[in-house]
C-alpha cells in the first residue's frame, strides 16, 4: 500500500484530498491528512466579524465531516519533514512515512516578528483580524468605541488575501457612517507598498476609493516597532504614526517546520516550481495553497484554481509520466467596498488586475474593478460556495486558466 500524506486540512489540503480520493484506487493508496486542529475555519469570514456581520460560530466547522470517506485525519503538529527518508515526524513522536507528500499548512500571522506587537495592549488598543480570536476581540471593542484615530498597518508583504486590509477600511468607513459617527473617526491606512495595492492599475482605482472615503494613505512605511504605551507605530526610517486603535496585519509566515526541514524561503514558504508546485529539490514533495512561494496572491480562489491544475499533473506524476499542465497564477477576488457594494479583480502571473467584465455562465458577468451590488452578493455567496462546492471538490463553472475575454487594457503612467 502506498501513502499520500497531506499536511494541513485547510482550504487547499481539503480540496486536494477530496478530488484525489476518487481517482486513487483504495487498495493501492492510503490517504492521510494531518492538522493541528480538528476544526476548519472559513477565513474570509474573519473580515466580517469585527463589524458584527458574521458571528464567530458561523465560520467554524468540524474538519472530519468535510473530508471524503476513505481519508484518514490525524490531529497533531508537524515537527519536521525528513525528505531524504520520505518521513514526517509529529511533535508527539509519531512517524509517518510517505510515498508522496503535499504540504498545505498555509501561512499565518506572526506577531512575534514585529517588536512591541506581542504586548499587553494586544486585544485592547492593538488588534488583528487575521485570526478568529483577534477578529472576535475587535468586534467587542468596535461595538462601543467612542471614536478616535483608527490605523490599519500591514507589517510586510506578502500577506494572504492582500485586499483584506483595504476591505476592512471600506467596511469601517461604512460601519461608522451607519452609526452616525464617521465625523468622530479618523481612518489611516499605512502600508509598506508605494500605493494602495501592489499592481499599478488596481492601485490607482483602489487609491481613489480610499481618497473619496477620506481615508488617509501613508505609503512606503516599513514598521520597525509598535510602541503600545505611547500608542504609535515607528518605521525604519523613523516616521511615526500615532493611533488610538491599531489594527495590524502582522508578518505572515509559513509553518516553522518548513524552515526546520530546509524546504523554505526566508518566510518559510516552500520553494516549488510555480507551474507545477513540485518541490525544487524533492521529486515526491508538492506544496499547495498559501504554503507555496508562488508569485501570485495567497488566496482561497488561487488555491482552488491551483488544485484543479494540480490534480491532473499529480496523476501523471505518480504514473511516471511528465506533468503537462501549467498553472498560470490565476487569482479572482471579490473586494467588499462597503454600503452593500463590492469590486472584483481577476489576474494571473502575467496580467495585472484590469477593468472590464468577468464572464460567468449562468450568473455573470461581474464588473471588474468597479463597485456594484452584484459583486457584493458574489462575495457573500462565496461562503456558501466554499463549504458546499469548493471544499467537497465539486466542479465550478470557473475555468482554471485566466481569460482575457471582457478585460480592457489600461495604462498607468509609471
Amino acid at each position: 500500500m502506498k501513502r499520500l500524506l497531506v499536511l494541513g486540512a485547510g482550504t487547499a489540503g481539503t480540496m486536494a484530498v477530496n478530488k484525489l480520493r476518487p481517482l486513487l484506487p483504495g487498495d493501492e493508496w492510503q490517504i492521510t491528512v494531518v492538522d493541528s486542529k480538528p476544526e476548519h475555519h472559513y477565513q474570509p469570514g474573519y473580515l466580517f466579524i469585527p463589524f458584527g456581520t458574521y458571528q464567530p460560530a458561523e465560520v467554524v466547522k468540524p474538519s472530519a465531516p468535510l473530508l471524503t470517506d476513505g481519508v484518514e485525519l490525524l490531529i497533531g503538529d508537524v515537527d519536521v519533514v525528513e525528505a531524504a527518508d520520505s518521513l514526517v515526524r509529529l511533535t508527539d513522536g509519531t512517524e509517518l512515512p510517505y510515498d508522496q507528500l503535499i504540504i498545505a499548512t498555509g501561512t499565518h500571522p506572526r506577531r512575534d516578528q514585529t517588536e512591541g506587537l506581542d504586548s499587553d495592549e494586544y486585544g485592547r488598543t492593538i488588534h488583528d483580524f487575521y485570526t478568529l480570536e483577534g477578529a472576535t476581540a475587535l468586534a467587542g471593542v468596535l461595538a462601543d468605541w467612542p471614536g478616535g484615530r483608527l490605523v490599519m498597518n500591514i507589517a510586510e508583504m506578502p500577506i494572504k488575501c492582500p485586499v483584506a486590509p483595504l476591505e476592512f477600511m471600506f467596511l469601517a468607513d461604512s460601519f461608522f457612517t451607519d452609526r452616525g459617527m464617521r465625523d468622530k473617526v479618523e481612518l489611516v491606512y499605512v502600508t509598506p507598498l508605494d500605493g494602495a495595492f501592489t499592481k499599478p492599475v488596481a492601485a490607482k482605482h483602489l487609491g481613489t476609493m480610499l481618497a473619496t472615503r477620506d481615508i488617509a494613505l501613508e505609503t512606503d512605511f516599513m514598521v520597525m516597532e509598535v510602541d503600545g504605551d505611547a500608542r504609535k507605530i515607528v518605521s525604519y526610517d523613523e516616521r511615526e504614526v500615532p493611533y488610538d486603535l491599531l489594527v495590524t496585519v502582522p508578518v505572515n509566515m509559513g509553518a516553522d517546520f518548513v524552515e526546520r526541514s530546509g524546504l523554505g524561503d526566508e518566510l518559510n514558504h516552500v520553494e516549488v516550481d510555480k507551474f507545477t508546485f513540485l518541490s525544487d529539490d524533492h521529486d515526491n514533495i508538492f506544496a499547495l495553497g498559501d504554503a507555496a512561494n508562488l508569485p501570485t496572491s495567497k488566496a482561497g480562489s488561487v488555491a482552488h484554481f491551483a488544485v484543479d491544475v494540480f490534480i491532473d499533473n499529480f496523476m501523471q506524476h505518480i504514473a511516471g509520466r511528465p506533468m503537462t499542465h501549467r498553472f498560470d497564477g490565476h487569482a479572482n477576488c471579490f473586494i467588499e467596498s462597503g454600503a452593500g457594494k463590492g469590486l472584483l479583480i481577476d489576474f494571473n502571473y502575467d496580467v495585472e488586475p484590469l477593468p472590464g467584465k468577468y464572464p460567468l455562465p449562468g450568473i455573470g458577468p461581474f464588473s471588474l474593478l468597479k463597485e456594484t451590488e452584484a459583486n457584493h452578493w458574489g462575495k457573500l455567496m462565496f461562503k456558501w460556495t466554499y463549504w458546499n462546492m469548493l471544499l467537497p471538490g465539486r466542479d465550478l463553472p470557473l475555468p482554471a486558466d485566466m481569460t482575457m475575454a471582457g478585460k480592457i487594457r489600461e495604462e498607468v503612467p509609471a
Partner: protein, 105 residues
C-alpha cells in the same frame, strides 16, 4: 526597453531606468547609478549589500527582498534604510543593476 549611456557605456534599461541585462553591469557603474538616485558615496557597507544582491541573484534568478538581505545577507533592516533611504529594496536593486524586486501580489 531602451538603452542609455552610463559612464560612457551603453546599457539596456527599462522605462524606470533599471538595468535589464545582468552581464552589462560591473562595479564601475555602481557609483554612477547611485549618484543618479542621490547617493553620493558608496561605503563598504553599501558594497556589502550590493555584492550580496548580485551573488544571490545568480542562485535565485530574482532580486532579494529586504527580509532576505537581512536574514541571509546579515545586514540589519535598519541599516539598509540608512544606506538606501526611504526605498531600500528598490534603490539597492537599481544600484546593483538588477530588476526591481517583484511587486508582491
Amino acid at each position: 526597453m531602451s538603452t542609455t549611456t552610463i559612464a560612457n557605456r551603453e546599457v539596456h534599461v527599462n522605462d524606470e531606468g533599471f538595468m535589464t541585462e545582468y552581464d552589462e553591469w560591473s562595479e564601475e557603474l555602481a557609483p554612477h547609478l547611485a549618484a543618479a538616485i542621490g547617493i553620493a558615496e558608496l561605503t563598504d557597507d553599501h558594497w556589502k549589500a550590493i555584492r550580496f544582491l548580485r551573488e544571490d541573484f545568480v542562485d535565485q534568478q530574482e532580486t532579494a527582498t529586504l527580509r532576505r538581505v537581512t536574514k541571509v545577507g546579515g545586514i540589519p533592516t535598519k541599516q539598509l534604510f540608512t544606506l538606501f533611504p526611504k526605498k531600500p529594496a528598490k534603490k539597492m536593486a537599481y544600484v546593483a543593476g538588477l530588476p526591481k524586486p517583484r511587486g508582491c501580489v
